[in-house]
């Protein structure tokens, strides 16, 4: 009954209703899209760090992080990685060693990585980050993938030969011939300048390192919280040092905090501005009908009923408008989620806290990005209808009827 009455009332003054309707709809749509864009930017920044190589949680031997000594190895037992994977946590193990890479007359100090390409492909995005060439095969083949700046300073191309010379674990001079099969995009300053990535087998042969790992990285792609991941790590491997991406990339962590705060402040301001406008229009329309309310009161409608009626009207309108707004906003946000806004027109590449920023800014649409703007719209609508309704309900019927 309430609903019918509300609906009919709305249509009585078509123009007014439509005006408010459009206002609410457009505002909802814009808010959904904006929220999605900002959320997308935040997520992208975190994921770009964690998903590429850093992971969400990292595990090291107790004193590895102090001096990064080649000999600080994790007590590794076979099957450790599958323990994580069976809980839905992606995991990869890596080994590192410094050495020399020479190509023709040029040489450079590099950090060699030994990785398992299969594990990396499953749980991390490094394999997608090539600007030229291909990622490592699942078998050892003497291939190496170089960081962007490193490849430039050694002046190599795909197919170029690279001589690796290192101090092996047994003290001998390890040396191998490698072929450059891939060159990475800019990822982070460290990787760009010194990363030379090998298959784990090739690394072990070069460095005469039979077993053990320096690092195990976990990535649940956002599924689990950092605390849960740390706990899982501690349960599987005892007596190790466990860190999160926030510890390893403090600058990025700081930036995420900034973006989150900006998100909320910005959202708040948008709502306030939109809200003020909406309050205005709804107030106006409600006050216009004070005469009406007077008549209703005179006819015996209780004040509470009157208030309820007005609020329901506002909510119905709000609901309809927000559905319309969502109908516009969601597709637009999805478009930006798929295609993103390409800012490479403006930028040729820069870094935030050492990490290269993707030139494509993608939105992220989720339940939160839809419901939060809509919920706030509803709250504003009800509040802005409550005030005049309350006034009208308390007004003397005669006064109301004769209100000008």
């Amino acid at each position: 009954m309430f609903f019918q009455y509300a609906w009919r009332n709305l249509w009585r003054n078509k123009r007014r209703t439509l005006i408010i309707f459009f206002g609410l709809a457009v505002t909802s749509a814009v808010l959904i899209v904006t929220f999605s864009l900002i959320t997308g930017m935040i997520r992208q920044t975190v994921r770009s760090a964690a998903d590429v190589t850093v992971g969400e949680v990292q595990i090291y031997a107790k004193d590895y992080l102090n001096y990064r000594s080649f000999y600080s190895i994790l007590p590794y037992k076979p099957g450790i990685l599958s323990k994580f994977e069976s809980s839905g946590i992606g995991a990869a193990a890596r080994i590192y060693g410094y050495g020399l890479a020479a190509s023709g007359p040029k040489s450079a100090g590099v950090l060699y990585w030994g990785i398992n390409p299969g594990d990396e492909r499953e749980s991390f995005d490094l394999y997608k980050m090539l600007r030229e060439g291909d990622f490592l095969e699942d078998w050892s083949s003497g291939s190496v993938i170089l960081g962007d700046k490193l490849a430039k300073s050694l002046d190599v191309r795909i197919g170029s030969e690279l001589i690796a010379v290192v101090q092996a674990a047994d003290g001998s001079l390890g040396n191998e011939l490698l072929t450059v099969t891939g060159i990475l995009q800019p990822i982070s300053e460290k990787i760009d300048r010194e990363a030379a990535i090998l298959h784990e087998k090739d690394f072990r042969e070069l460095f005469v390192m039979e077993s053990g790992f320096h690092e195990i990285v976990l990535n649940s792609r956002g599924k689990f919280s950092l605390d849960k991941l740390k706990a899982s790590a501690g349960a599987v491997i005892q007596d190790a040092e466990i860190t999160t991406w926030r510890d390893v990339l403090p600058g990025l962590s700081g930036m995420i905090n900034v973006l989150n705060i900006i998100n909320w402040i910005y959202g708040a301001i948008l709502f306030l501005s939109a809200g003020l406008g909406m309050i205005n229009t709804i107030l106006m329309s409600t006050f216009d009908r004070i005469k009406e309310f007077g008549v209703l009161k005179a006819l015996g409608t209780t004040p509470s009923r009157l208030t309820a009626n007005v609020v329901i009207e506002a909510l119905v309108l709000c609901l309809a408008a927000s559905l319309a707004g969502a109908a516009i906003g969601i597709p637009v946000a999805l478009h930006f989620q798929e295609n993103g806004i390409n800012i490479s027109y403006f930028s040729s590449g820069y870094t935030f806290s050492g990490l290269a920023v993707s030139p494509v800014w993608k939105a992220q649409l989720g339940a939160v990005q839809i419901l939060v703007p809509l919920a706030m719209m509803w709250v504003i609508c009800s509040l802005s209808a409550l005030y005049p309704a309350f006034l009208a309900a308390r007004m003397d019927a005669v006064k109301a009827m004769t209100h000008v």
């Binding site: 814009v30 904006t34 962590s253 700081g254 930036m255 301001i269 003020l276 909406m278 820069y350």
Partner: protein, 417 residues
């Protein structure tokens, strides 16, 4: 024509004013929507401008100057033997050409620093310590003192480098490098001071030496330099100064770069930041204007009858449109003024006091290799205020056009039924 025009100005302003006053609450709310949105836009832009200004200043001070002059092949493949031979002469010519610029020269080379315990690759820069006012590094000394002589082999180095080499103030190390003929040469240096910039690349690699010392060690002709850096008192005059200097260089093969070419990553970030800013401001303005549009539309709607009557008795529609425009204009002016005052004042307070955001990101955040200080100062300029305020005002007025058109479409028949 004359009479008609005059009468437009005659009554309409007061009528517009009065109709706004009639519904004071609505007017107030509309005005506050404008002012709140504008105030935030001003504050947001000013804070961003402050951060960017700090980044630019840092970039310019640490990596050169507003304008950099180099040997034509230097940028592509930096090597100490690509130098400007008569840099000092050129510098004095440049400084004579304008009073608000200062020029300094630098010799740059890569080398190795060796101590009894360790060795590491370094970037060594020979600087003129006494010119160019204070070097930014002199304020970042954490132990010892900054170098202040043009000769002598006492140097300053970054903190991380000193830790790696296990060096304290007063201790020595051997510098190995190539001179301009490519011959390996060695020198003994002593640490006069240690600085900390917070930028890892600088703190772990950079050694600053008196330029005279490097001239001798590298066999560089006296007065030569790998880079001449020009600092401007007023960055706004950059293009003018570039033109001036270009004419001075007309017959010499020396390349000139603005800081944007020397720090492309920073320039990139600034462009993107500006684009993102525009997008966000655009959205904000859109929402505000839309609600104002709504408000004006509503007010026209409820005055349908009134307008219909006025039109029926012969009022030219133009007059009514003009009234609407004035109403929008008044709302705009009021909103803009209040918004600018609030936004401007709040921004100014943060310009003076700064906002300490260390609880948010501590000391660690960096953009393109330049560290972002946790103490943010806003940067408010008249340009900023005029720009945003003006834009808002114009848009508010424009927004009234659509409702205006409605006036002529009021069907007298229907409305006056």
């Amino acid at each position: 024509m004359f009479k008609w025009k005059r009468s437009l100005f005659d009554m309409q302003p007061q009528i517009a004013w009065r109709s706004l006053r009639r519904n004071l609450r609505r007017t107030a709310i509309t005005v506050s929507a404008v002012s709140l949105g504008l105030a935030f836009a001003v504050f947001y832009t000013a804070m961003h401008a402050g951060v960017n200004k700090q980044l630019i200043e840092q970039g310019i001070r640490f990596y050169g100057g507003h304008i950099i002059l180099e040997h034509p092949q230097y940028r592509h493949a930096p090597s100490v033997d690509l130098f400007i031979a008569d840099a000092e002469k050129l510098m004095s010519k440049i400084q004579k050409s304008s009073s608000s610029i200062s020029a300094s020269r630098t010799i740059i080379n890569y080398g190795m620093a060796r101590t009894a315990y360790a060795s590491d690759g370094i970037l060594i820069k020979g600087i003129e310590p006494t010119s160019n006012g204070e070097s930014p590094f002199s304020k970042l000394i954490v132990s010892g003192r900054f170098i202040d002589r043009e000769r002598g082999s006492n140097i300053c180095m970054g903190k991380k480098l000193s830790e790696l080499l296990r060096l304290g103030v007063g201790q020595k190390f051997v510098l190995t490098t190539n001179d301009i003929t490519g011959t390996l040469t060695e020198g003994l240096c002593r640490v006069e001071g240690i600085f900390e910039t917070g930028i890892e690349e600088i703190d772990s690699r950079l050694v600053l030496a008196p330029i005279g010392y490097l001239e001798d060690l590298l066999m560089m002709p006296s007065g030569g330099a790998n880079q001449i850096a020009v600092l401007l008192d007023d960055p706004g005059k950059q293009s003018k100064v570039i033109r001036q200097i270009s004419t001075l260089l007309a017959d010499e093969s020396i390349n000139l770069y603005s800081w944007k070419e020397v720090l492309p990553e920073l320039a990139s970030y600034l462009r993107v930041d500006q684009a993102a800013n525009l997008i966000f401001q655009g959205i904000l303005f859109f929402i505000i204007l839309f609600t104002i549009f709504n408000a004006i539309l509503m007010s026209v709607n409820e005055r349908n009858r009134e307008f219909a009557v006025l039109l029926a008795v012969g009022t030219p529609p133009l007059r009514l449109r003009w009234q609407l425009l004035l109403e929008a204009f008044y709302i705009g002016i009021a909103g803009c003024l209040i918004g600018l005052i609030i936004g401007g004042m709040v921004s100014y307070i943060f310009q003076i006091k700064g906002l300490n955001a260390s609880f948010v990101y501590g000391n660690e955040m960096s953009i393109s290799g330049l560290s972002v200080s946790p103490l943010i100062h806003a940067h408010v300029t008249w340009d900023l205020l005029a720009g945003l305020g003006g834009a808002m005002l114009v848009l508010v007025v424009l927004v009234s056009f659509v409702p205006m058109l409605r006036i002529s479409r009021i069907s007298l028949m229907e409305t006056l039924r």
